[in-house]
Amino acid sequence: MRIPVTALLQLATTESSIPPAGGPVRTVVRIVLGVFIAMLASYILIEQIGSWRRRRTDRDR
């Protein structure tokens, strides 16, 4: 089967004929990114607080 490359490229690059896709995808990816950052930040926070509490306990002992 012969692929109509030129026609496809023209179709794909004509913004008025095809609206840009990916809006919902971008939203989902941003949510994933936000959850990921929140998880890493929580882990770091818990580790640092735990470390600080242990150091304080050791010092007071």
């Binding site: 692929i3 490359v5 496809l8 490229l9 179709l11 794909a12 095809i18 840009p20 896709a21 990916g22 995808v25 971008r26 990816v29 941003r30 994933v32 990114l33 990921f36 950052i37 890493l40 882990y43 770091i44 818990i46 580790e47 640092q48 607080i49 735990g50 470390s51 509490r53 242990r54």
Partner: protein, 244 residues
């Protein structure tokens, strides 16, 4: 105990020169790819503009990005051959496989940080966080290579792919790159430089070595496998070294 463990009585050789070399190449490659990718991803911001200027403009940035993309592909092939066709590499991969005990260990570790237990949970050769970083970087790199090839050969790709898939690929490449950037430059650097007891840095990535004390603290199950019940304090005094 293997020959490499006997080489220095005070430290344990944890990683080979081959493994350290792979880490160095990955470190340099992902850094350059992240910086050259970020210049395009954040082209509208001052960071993007500064990076673009440093990298010599759009054309040079693209050339550098593609050159290091090829290096990443070669490294991926090198690592694949290493873990599939060498005995040691395969053993490392098997140790790296996620297990249900990793989740339990991670929860127990959080409990330790929150003061619910007095001792951290015992981990094997790789901790759950190390496994997460390995698989995150590994899967992320494969995804970046796949989507990157579609963007690199966009003319050919658009002859066979629908427009929406091309758009999705563009988004995934950009944001997956950002996730990888945060994983490595945020979390990984935090763990090896700023997590408790590691400042200014762990040195295992330089020497591949770890002290018995550190192995006992952070990889208790591996320590017990190597030295049995003998505690680190029962060995002659040793220099402080770090873990991966």
């Amino acid at each position: 105990m293997t020959a490499e463990h006997r080489r220095d009585p005070e430290e344990i050789q944890r990683f080979t020169a081959n493994e350290l070399a792979q880490h160095w190449v990955l470190m340099i490659t992902l850094t350059v790819l992240a910086l050259t990718g970020l210049a395009l991803f954040a082209h509208g911001t001052w960071i993007g503009k500064v990076l673009m200027a440093i990298e010599g403009g759009m054309e040079a940035r693209g050339a550098i990005h593609r050159f290091f993309a090829v290096v990443l592909m070669l490294l991926t092939a090198w690592h694949f051959l290493y873990v599939v066709f060498t005995e040691r590499g395969h053993r490392q991969l098997m140790e790296m496989l996620p297990r249900s005990s990793d989740l339990r260990g991670f929860v127990a570790l959080l409990g330790y940080y929150l003061g619910r237990t007095a001792e951290p949970p015992p981990f094997g050769r790789f901790t759950p966080m190390q496994k997460l970083q390995y698989w995150g970087a590994g899967m992320g790199s494969l995804m970046m290579i796949g989507t990157g090839l579609v963007l690199w050969f966009h003319t050919q790709a658009m002859a066979v792919l629908p427009k929406w898939l091309f758009d999705v690929t563009t988004i995934v490449h950009g944001y997956e790159g950002l996730i990888l950037f945060i994983l490595l430059f945020g979390w990984h650097l935090y763990i090896v430089h700023f997590s408790p007891g590691n400042f200014p840095m762990q040195r295992t990535f330089l020497s591949g070595r770890i002290s018995r004390q550190r192995l006992w603290q952070e990889h208790r199950l591996e320590y017990l496998e190597l030295f049995g019940d003998r505690s680190p304090a029962s060995f002659p005094e040793e220099k402080g070294e770090e873990s991966p």
